[in-house]
């Protein structure tokens, strides 16, 4: 406890609130940074894939032809590292079929055609009030509400609320860095719902039994820092820490490094260095779940980028097709070249606009040919810029060469699994080598070889 506080104070004092390496891409957040969050009207149909979170996909509960109300559970959590899925609108299940998934594959999904003229009122309070709940009950309630990390990876939130046996968590780190270019979802949530963020922090601190929380926000969001600071509850030890603007400041391990000065060992969890990191959007989602009693059935999405006619921050029902969201934002311009889900550094390009918004979708970014012009890749000139950019001190040049040679086992020895695919190396490479794609290839190739060997 004391050591953490000391470390936080030291970083405060030195004002060196950053980590080593990393890159400075243009943040291009001006497109949506000032636009208040709006609610998007319900589409005619929603599609809910059963796999929306890290861990086991949910187990189906409904059948074709069933009628569901808004907030009804349509799939049950399958095991502890899994969450249920709830209908985000009232309607009729027309089909349970294979449907394009935002990760580029196809996955089993529930198609629901919405009731016309329905007021879409959710069932009253599915989630209990949090007052008087024991930590275990809060964990169960958060799981039943289907809350996952809204920062992109969609890791079930309740798992983080129950740290592994034998570790002592002493600091709750709230991740409001939002270091990806273009995205402004967390920014707008912090500006518009600061009380909700603080309420979520209160629930998490109670459940984890920690008495100190730090909210890390990059300095390019002064209005968010101000709003959070102004609404800080008097009875809790919560600090708002402005962070240097640098990518990937919002990566879990980088944030821990910045705030506490500690490094998470390879293959370990943040809990092993006494911290739990939670995205600010997920914190707000926990608060919303306990406030309203509804499960997680909608989320804030930034629809932005130069190829979107009217960029916006929208509350979108989970399962809305990208096509409907983009249509509501005035559609795409003629020179659109690429649609990316998530930020442009780590996000996944989308081949199909029928894919739905899922719980982990932070943003829909439309890029034009000017941003995505395919450039020829040249041979590596061994300049070493990727080594200077890599925030986890890997050797991307070596890993890239090994991937091209198909030597995935050697990549593993060169610590491929510590790579979080942040894309810093690809960003700085003067030869335009698609390094982070090669690492994605290495990871999938390694998994495939292990499956084949088994």
């Amino acid at each position: 406890m004391d050591r953490t506080r000391q470390a936080v104070q030291l970083t405060d004092m030195w004002r060196r609130s950053t980590f080593r390496h990393g890159v400075h891409p243009p943040d291009t957040k001006h497109l949506t940074a000032e636009i208040p969050i709006r609610r998007m009207p319900f589409p005619a149909e929603i599609v809910l894939p059963l796999r929306q979170h890290a861990g086991r996909p949910a187990r189906l509960l409904v059948e074709k032809g069933d009628h569901v109300e808004r907030g009804d559970k349509i799939a049950e959590a399958d095991g502890f590292i899994s969450v249920p899925i709830h209908a985000s609108a009232a309607g009729t299940v027309t089909d349970i079929c294979l449907w394009p998934h935002p990760d580029g594959s196809v996955a089993t999904a529930v198609r629901i055609v919405l009731d016309s003229y329905s007021p879409q009122i959710p069932r009253p309070r599915i989630v209990p009030r949090w007052e008087g709940l024991s930590p275990q009950q809060v964990v169960a309630a958060v799981q039943q509400a289907g809350v996952v990390g809204l920062g992109g990876a969609a890791f079930p939130t309740h798992v983080k609320l129950l740290p592994p046996e034998g570790v002592n968590v002493e600091l709750l780190l709230v991740n409001g860095a939002e270091c990806e270019p273009y995205l402004t979802t967390d920014h707008r949530v912090m500006v518009e719902y600061p009380e909700r963020v603080h309420f979520g922090i209160r629930v998490m601190m109670h459940t984890l039994g920690v008495d100190r929380a730090v909210i890390g926000v990059e300095k390019n969001k002064p209005d968010a820092i101000e709003a959070l600071d102004a609404t800080r509850p008097a009875d809790l030890d919560v600090t708002v820490l402005p962070l240097t603007v640098k990518y990937p400041q919002g990566a879990e391990k980088m944030l821990i490094r910045t705030v506490t000065g500690r490094e998470v060992p390879s293959g370990k969890l943040p809990a092993h260095v006494g911290t739990v990191v939670q995205n600010v959007g997920s914190i707000a989602a926990i608060a919303e779940v306990f406030e309203t009693g509804y499960p997680l059935i909608e989320r804030v999405v930034s629809v932005t980028g130069p190829a979107v006619r009217h960029p916006a921050n929208l509350i979108v029902p989970v399962g809305t097709k990208l096509r409907d969201v983009l249509e509501f934002c005035g559609g795409l311009t003629e020179d659109v070249a690429e649609i990316v889900l998530g930020g442009p550094m780590m996000g996944a390009c989308q081949p199909d606009l029928d894919a739905p918004v899922i719980k982990g979708t932070t943003g829909i970014v439309g890029l034009t040919h000017a941003e995505t012009k395919p450039r020829e890749a040249y041979p590596c000139i061994k300049c070493g810029r990727c080594l200077d950019a890599c925030p986890v001190y890997l050797n991307p040049q070596l890993l890239g060469a090994l991937a091209q040679a198909g030597r995935y086992e050697d990549m593993e020895k060169a610590r491929l699994m510590d790579c979080m695919l942040c894309g810093c190396c690809s960003y700085v490479c003067p030869s335009n080598l698609p390094l982070s794609q090669l690492f994605a290839l290495g990871k999938s190739g390694l998994r495939r070889r292990k499956d084949q060997a088994a």
Binding site: P351, Q437, L441
Partner: protein, 283 residues
């Protein structure tokens, strides 16, 4: 220089040489492992590709297995008929016969029939495309067409056709399994060349959902199930599945009414839609 001082080093060196020479000779006599001389002889006849198609660790391991009688010479599918006979004569056994197996592609969705949803720019490899967002083809199960299999083929048996589908030359294919391992979508299977009936599709969608992404997709209409001998073909999860345990029941009637030509009767190399046309144009 006087003679005695020259003799000393000569004597020492000769002594050392003699001692170690004796030791080596002793070690050779004591630690010698007898090896069948035929192993080297047979290994020389084998192609030396170490492709693994026979199921052994390499050509030498196959030679050892052949001497011990575990395999018949014909189980090396890479040898030509001349080498095969030489191998059999050297070993003094019959060459034997094995069923000729070839790699078959379970996709007919070339760029002429399959819908392309998006263009892919990036590492020119199927595995890399699949690792990010699937290469942009409308059908999530379909051939990506970036030739990982052709690159992996040791015997140059795979060529990409003008529509981006790999065509296997059955004469060159040795069923070594390399393309099966290389394909990130598991579209290759090894099967005996005598099997003529193949469903060239792995799309699990049915009806219009399937044909809207590829006009050569199996739309699970069930006509082949009705036309074939009962029990040969079954419809499972949006795809016609042939029971190869009962393949002796096959006859060309099964493919007659297929609306998309997803099920085909193959003699020799696989034929994909539009290929005849492309070949005639080339001429």
């Amino acid at each position: 220089m006087d003679l005695p001082s020259l003799l000393t080093p000569v004597a020492i060196l000769s002594g050392v040489g003699l001692t170690f020479g004796t030791l080596i000779a002793l070690a050779h006599w004591k630690l010698k492992v007898w090896e069948d001389p035929r192993i080297d002889e047979l290994s020389d006849i084998l192609p030396g590709a170490n492709c693994g198609a026979c199921g052994f660790a390499g050509c030498r391991a196959f030679a050892e297995a052949a001497i011990s009688g575990q395999v018949v010479p014909a189980e090396c599918t890479v040898m030509g008929s001349f080498e095969l006979e030489e191998f059999a004569v050297t070993l003094g056994v019959e060459a034997g016969e094995v069923e000729k197996r070839v790699a078959r592609l379970l996709c007919a969705g070339g760029s002429n029939v399959a819908v392309q949803k998006a263009d892919y720019y990036g590492v020119e490899s199927c595995a890399a495309a699949v690792a990010v967002s699937g290469g942009g083809k409308g059908c999530a199960w379909g051939c990506v067409g970036l030739a990982d299999c052709a690159v992996s083929c040791t015997f140059d048996a795979i060529r990409m056709n003008p529509f981006g589908l790999p065509v296997v030359d059955p004469d060159k294919c040795t069923a070594c399994n390399d393309c099966v391992v290389a394909c990130p979508l598991d579209l290759f299977v090894l099967m005996p060349q005598q099997h003529h009936l193949i469903v060239q599709c792995r799309n699990l969608l049915d009806g219009e959902a399937a044909t809207s992404v590829c006009s050569a997709a199996c739309n699970a209409c069930g006509r082949c199930v009705a036309d074939a001998e009962p029990g040969l073909i079954a419809m499972r999860a949006g795809l016609a599945v042939i029971d190869y345990e009962r393949i002796e029941l096959e006859n060309p009637a099964a493919i007659a009414r297929c609306p998309t030509n997803a099920i085909v009767w193959v003699e020799g190399a696989q034929v994909f839609p539009g290929l005849e046309l492309a070949e005639s144009e080339a001429r």
